[in-house]
Amino acid sequence: MSQKILLTSKEVNIILHRLACQLIEKHLDFSDTILIGLQPRGSFLAKRLAKILKEEYQIATIQMGLLDITFFRDDFRRGEKPLEANKTEIDFIVEDKKVVFIDDVLYTGRSIRSALTAIQSFGRPAEIELLVLIDRRFSRHLPIQPDYRGRQVDAINDEKVKVCWIENDGEDAVYLDTTTQNKST
């Protein structure tokens, strides 16, 4: 397998702190803000950012939820296998709140489109922003761009960007895998 490291653990850590600071710059005390991690992989990034904001920047309360977009995807019955759902954990409504979607990789933009529809089940947010760790440039199928990005990557279509988290994969790192077909969005 041919694999190239894009971000080391140290670089991931620096980027997370920068993203946290950018969020504070815009959202101040987060009183009207809700962080929404997109399931499955965005949840790790959302939880990590919430932890940094609380523990290192003393933001007292961070409201956070996890949103699964499976039933809102536009490729139902178009793949070989059925889409497997994950848990949605949103026990509040987002009416008039500032919502920040958080995902690990922005690729075609179709997941974000699904999330924009899915979040409406929980109310009408005042605004929605997008934060991603990796922005895969030149791969978009829809006019969707991030408001906060960790790193922009120029990867071609059959390369896969793999984001690893210490709590799930044993290390914090981002790899570019050039041998597998990329199906992620």
Partner: protein
């Protein structure tokens, strides 16, 4: 596993234990969806489903329709009483005419056992059996097991007694298959005339005494006496049936443990179960109805994902 092993839901006996797990896991997600402020997802917006009911139904039909609408499917519903079936049209002709209107899935209730199986062999659509005579009612058994799992944590190892008219009950047969497949122990209880001969061959024990059956079980599923399927008298009177096989609060409170009370509906209050039992905190009857929508959403979603 992310895919059902079957293309139709004709009965529990055609499923594998993994299918039941997958349906339950998917239903967990849909249960969360139907408790949102907006309870609808767009997954099935390009799927059309026909609900064909040759027998009366309130709960099952409403539950299926609601499940389909929550998934954004297009739905047509059809009751045999107002249809050309009365003019002599055959089942296959009726269904094929409906399928010509580009229907992808058929949910059917029919009074003949095997009707759904027959249909699945003869028409090109995904078939869900919503009850075929005294044969099977798979979605009811699934929602019953799901409700037990929700209340007691697991179905495996639990003791379940099914009380009442076992002879005419498709709910009983599907429940026996579903509960055993998940590792529960099943007994049936009722008047001898309403217990099918050779039911022991399914691995089920018969307990004619209701008090003993209740003392043994963790869950009691109280079935309705199906007068509409009885061509002769199976017991002397409704009053006598209620005295021997009806569950009242006094009997329930006399047990040394709290058992879970289920009923597939419709309830004949005062016959198989009294009002105070049906409305007690041990009863999960209304949870069963709520879970029915989530289970049916899961079944429809998983079968629809296999339609090419």
């Amino acid at each position: 596993m992310s895919e059902l092993t079957v293309n139709h839901l004709l009965g529990i006996k055609y499923l594998q234990p993994e299918d039941i797990n997958l349906i339950f896991e998917t239903a967990d997600h849909f249960k969360e969806v139907i408790n949102r402020p907006i309870k609808k997802v767009p997954s099935l917006r390009d799927i059309t489903i026909a609900n064909i009911f040759f027998e009366n139904s309130t709960r099952t039909k409403l539950s299926f329709e609601l499940a389909q609408k929550r998934l954004s499917a297009d739905v047509i519903s059809f009751s045999a009483a107002q249809s050309s079936v009365k003019k002599g049209e055959t089942l296959i002709d009726t269904v094929n005419n409906i399928l010509s209107m580009k229907v992808d899935m058929v949910v059917m209730r029919h009074s003949n056992p095997g009707a759904a199986y027959f249909l699945s062999k003869n028409v090109k659509a995904s078939i869900i059996n919503a009850g075929d005579g005294a044969h099977e009612h798979p979605t009811q058994a699934l929602l019953d097991s799901y409700s037990i799992r929700e209340k007691l944590g697991d179905v495996a190892g639990k003791k379940v007694v099914i009380v009442g008219d076992i002879l005419h009950s498709r709910v009983a047969l599907s429940n026996i298959f579903a509960l055993q497949m998940q590792g529960a122990e099943v007994k049936v209880c009722g008047p001898n005339s309403l217990i099918p001969k050779h039911i022991e061959s399914l691995g089920v024990k018969v307990e004619p005494n209701l008090r003993k059956a209740l003392a043994w079980c963790d869950v009691a599923n109280m079935l309705r006496v199906q007068n509409e399927r009885m061509d002769v008298n199976y017991f002397p009177s409704t009053r006598e049936y209620a005295q021997q096989y009806g569950l009242d609060k006094e009997l329930l409170d006399s047990l040394d443990k709290e058992i879970v009370i289920m009923h597939p509906g419709p309830i004949n209050r005062g016959v198989e179960i009294t009002s105070d039992v049906a409305d007690s905190k041990q009863s999960v009857i209304l949870n069963q109805v709520e879970n029915g929508v989530a289970i049916r959403m899961a079944v429809i979603y998983l079968l629809a994902s296999k339609i090419k």
